[in-house]
């Protein structure tokens, strides 16, 4: 059978070249030694899938038109004052102490360059590809975090980690990265592993996934020693236990814990997603769960990272914001400008960044959405420049092609 499209063959060869080893090399034959990453700062990117309503999360209560456009949503639940103009949605109250300590900030009225069709799926693809409308959705299939890895030295397969069962396009690309879900396991005898390696030898996609799986299962101690052994048809207790643990779904807290544990080892960059933001109706209630997940994730990262939290920046971004006016069903529809969340000990928090466009009727984008005055990519780029010492010229070409970073908003300490 012909297994390899030219595309995947090229991708694999590029990956191998980046690794500096031959295509046939395998981690089993050549155990990798993990040199410490060339830097000590950490970046976590959280993709908020579904279109987070920035206007409900960071509420512009100081804008006279806010209550007019959102008669019920502006009054829903509680809100905590941030800076006298903006208030924090009460479902994020667990994060308020971080704001007070300067470890939490936001950028408002920001968006990707994606415009007008307001499709979740294209919007997310563009957010993760980091491209502009000139390139077109889907034209570039790798992610900006992966292209960033190509520009820094000393990167190993563990430097960056995609966490959870979803594919993280933002980390896809030619530079090898790791990906694992906290509830995945693998039990196979050493002989079985060797044979599998043989089966996967000529299929780069399987070879790469298989090698990483075996290696990670071992490293994370998620395999049992016994395997299935005698072959009498019975499942071992370990197998049953592992199947059971597999049934538990990984919530944000579990993803964040796993992420922080990796970042406390040799990993420096990680990405995962939190979904459920598509609040077309009954938003006051519908947004609760996702905000709780976001708060859990950030609080857990902080707790498990310990001293490393001080060297960490967390950037949470979404594909688009939502309509300024609440719709007829207590929710909001797909919009344009929104908010991004910045957290971490390395972040200069306690501030809502960005240029507020105002919510008066004439100021809305296409008379319906929050007018974007900033590009989410610019904030991510400034964060990466500060954390990893990348040049503007590299950030504005290879990583975010066509981006104008603009003045430094100084979001890092």
């Amino acid at each position: 059978m012909q297994h390899l499209s030219n595309q995947s063959r090229r991708r694999f060869l590029l990956r191998s070249a980046a690794l500096g080893c031959s295509a046939a090399a395998s981690p089993f034959v050549t155990p990798m030694t993990f040199a410490a990453a060339p830097w000590d700062t950490r970046l976590v990117v959280i993709i908020l899938r579904g279109g987070m309503d920035g206007l409900d999360v960071v509420r512009p209560v100081g804008d006279d038109d806010y209550g007019f456009h959102r008669p019920t949503l502006s009054e829903a639940g509680s809100a905590l004052d941030l800076d006298g103009y903006f208030s924090l949605n009460g479902h994020l109250s667990a994060l308020h102490p971080l704001w007070q300590q300067g470890e939490l900030g936001f950028a408002h009225a920001v968006s990707t360059p994606y415009r007008n069709k307001r499709s979740h799926f294209d919007g997310q693809d563009m957010l993760e590809a980091g491209t502009g409308m000139d390139v077109g959705v889907g034209a570039i299939r790798d992610g900006w975090l992966n292209r960033m890895l190509a520009k820094v030295p000393g990167v190993t397969a563990r430097t960056a980690f995609a966490v959870g069962r979803e594919d993280m396009i933002v980390l896809n690309g030619d530079v090898p990265v790791s990906s694992w879900s906290p509830n995945a396991r693998l039990d196979l005898s050493p002989q079985g592993q060797r044979l599998l390696e043989g089966l996967y030898h000529d299929d780069p996609v399987f070879q790469e996934a298989g090698n990483t799986a075996t290696e990670l299962a071992e490293m994370l101690d998620m395999s049992s020693d016994s395997g299935v052994g005698d072959g009498d048809g019975a499942m071992s207790n370990e197998m049953m236990a592992s199947m059971r643990s597999a049934g538990k779904s990984a919530r944000a807290k579990a993803l964040a814990r796993f992420t922080a544990e990796r970042l406390n080892e040799e990993t420096r960059i990680a990405a995962f997603s939190i979904g459920g933001w598509d609040t077309h109706r009954s938003q006051a209630n519908g947004i609760k769960r996702s905000l709780g997940e976001l708060a859990d994730a950030i609080v857990t990262l902080r707790e498990v990272l310990g001293a490393n939290w001080g060297k960490t920046a967390v950037v949470a971004m979404t594909e688009f914001g939502r309509t300024v006016r609440e719709n007829g069903t207590g929710g909001t529809d797909h919009g344009t400008g929104g908010a991004m969340v910045l957290a971490g000990g390395a972040v200069r928090g306690g501030k809502v960044y960005g240029k507020w466009p105002g919510l008066a009727d004439g100021n809305l984008y296409q008379d319906r959405d929050l007018m974007p005055t900033g590009d989410v990519r610019a904030y991510a780029a400034h964060a990466m420049r500060g954390l990893f010492g990348l040049e503007n010229s590299v950030l504005e070409s290879a990583i975010f092609p066509g981006l104008d970073m603009g003045d430094d908003p100084r979001i890092l300490l």
Binding site: M1, N172, S179, R185, D187, A209, A246
Partner: protein, 454 residues
């Protein structure tokens, strides 16, 4: 080397080879089965949406009673919930048995294709227990007729109206809108244009979404009261969608059907459906020639699905470049059990706990929780989305369990022949023969790239 027609037909267009069911012998035979009676559904019934919706209503009453702390309500609700969850698990088993035993594998694949195209996620909004019924009522009987019928049945089905919030959407200038201050919700209108018909690259804009959303107002469903068209909630006045005006001045259900009928035969829709079929069955990046051929047949027949499938199967490109696609987790589980010779009775009475352990939990770790895609766009197609370290580990893990449960005393080399026939190369036969145990040898066949690709 391209495998034989029989092997390709079974693996690419069905649920794989089986020691019990012969593979298709020709395109004509495949289309003949598809055009005939759906005996599989008849032999292995699944409850209709209406039946499950009645239970949902009863559970709604129980939930309200519990909120009011009525005596016994909490216990009754617990019992009802458990029974519904049990039935859902039974439906998962039946949904697996059908493609495991059926000779009409192409029908079963098409069912999953269309259920994905018209995805309704079985979570929240009272949909957890009724989505199987939606697929059974709205999708399954309509996959061999006109696309317009399938479209209408799917997007105006109660499950879809609830899933994409249409039941909440009110014409702002309608009587109900003026009285209550409630208004539009664009969700369903947008997804019909973007996902179900024209595709995101199609010839529509925000104004079309808006006007279409206004036209859709009035269509209504409630678990207790059922389906209705509420004229007093429909936005008055004509609406223009893709340059054509609908709904003179009176809100009518017929106008909604009229716009759906026009969308169903739009050239962008033909292209979108042809592209999706080719991507699902042939390759992540299919040859444009194949897509054009299928789209032309769709257009020429005004969206006749049998003619569209025939165009796909008759084209030489549909039988080339084997192994470009990865089986999705559900298909991986089903084709494994089919290859292992699992018989219907071995699943029929499997208890709830074991069903969860063997099927629903592994599907989750493989990245495809049963009937719960992340959004209305359904599951992703690319190989790289499924063959991830964590996803592959879950497949290997499950293969070990399946081999232990159903492998019996089969020799792994014989199993390679049963499961893959001429799609297995000598190296695969050689390697699985070296396994330490029969279980591991069989699991290796199931975990091999040859078995996981199609």
């Amino acid at each position: 080397m391209t495998p034989s027609f029989q092997t390709m037909a079974a693996i690419r267009y069905g649920y794989g080879l089986s020691p019990l069911v012969p593979p298709p012998q020709s395109v004509g035979a495949m289309l003949g089965l598809l055009a005939g009676e759906d005996t599989t559904a008849h032999n292995y019934p699944i409850m209709s949406f209406t039946q499950r919706a009645e239970e949902e209503v009863a559970m709604g009453f129980l939930r309200r009673a519990r909120r009011k702390n009525e005596e016994g309500a909490a216990d009754s609700l617990k019992i009802a919930n458990r029974a519904a969850a049990k039935e859902l698990m039974r439906e998962l088993r039946v949904s697996m048995i059908r493609p495991i035993v059926s000779q009409d594998g192409f029908r079963e694949r098409l069912l999953r294709f269309w259920a994905d195209h018209f995805s309704v996620a079985a979570k929240g909004k009272g949909l957890r227990f009724v989505t199987t019924g939606y697929i059974e009522d709205a999708i399954r009987p309509n996959i061999t007729g006109q696309f317009s019928t399938l479209l209408r049945e799917a997007v105006t089905h109660p499950a879809m109206l609830v899933f994409l919030d249409q039941v909440q959407s009110i014409g702002p200038n309608s009587n109900v809108g003026k009285k209550t201050g409630r208004g539009l919700n664009e969700n369903l209108a947008r997804e019909i244009l973007e996902l179900h018909t024209l595709g995101v690259g199609g010839a529509y804009g925000q104004t079309d979404v808006r006007e279409f959303a206004e036209l859709l107002t009035g269509i209504y469903y409630n678990f207790r009261k059922g389906f209705s068209y509420r004229k007093q909630a429909a936005e008055p006045g004509a609406e223009t969608v893709l340059g054509k005006s609908y709904s003179g001045n009176k809100g009518r259900l017929e106008d909604i059907y009229a716009v759906l009928d026009d969308l169903a035969v739009h050239p962008d829709t033909a292209r979108h459906i042809a592209q999706k079929l080719a991507v699902h069955f042939v390759a992540d990046r299919p040859d444009p020639e194949l897509v054009t051929h299928v789209a032309a047949a769709f257009s020429a027949s005004q969206g006749d699905l049998m003619a569209t499938y025939a165009a796909l199967l008759e084209h030489p490109l549909a039988w080339q470049s084997a192994g470009e696609k990865a089986k999705q987790p559900f298909d991986f589980l089903v084709s494994s059990m089919r290859a292992l010779g699992v018989r219907d009775h071995m699943l029929t009475d499997l208890p709830f706990g074991k069903s969860r352990l063997y099927f629903s939990a592994p599907l989750q770790v493989m990245g495809q929780p049963w009937l719960q895609p992340g959004g209305p766009d359904g599951w992703p197609e690319p190989v790289e989305d499924w063959i991830t370290p964590q996803g592959l580990a879950a497949r290997i893990q499950w293969a070990l369990v399946a081999a232990g449960l159903w492998g019996g005393d089969t020799n792994p080399r014989d199993f390679a022949q049963t499961a893959l026939a001429d799609a297995a190369d000598d190296e695969l036969r050689r390697l699985v023969g070296f396994a330490e145990s029969r279980v591991e040898g069989i699991a290796l066949v199931l975990a091999s790239p040859e078995f996981n690709r199609r």
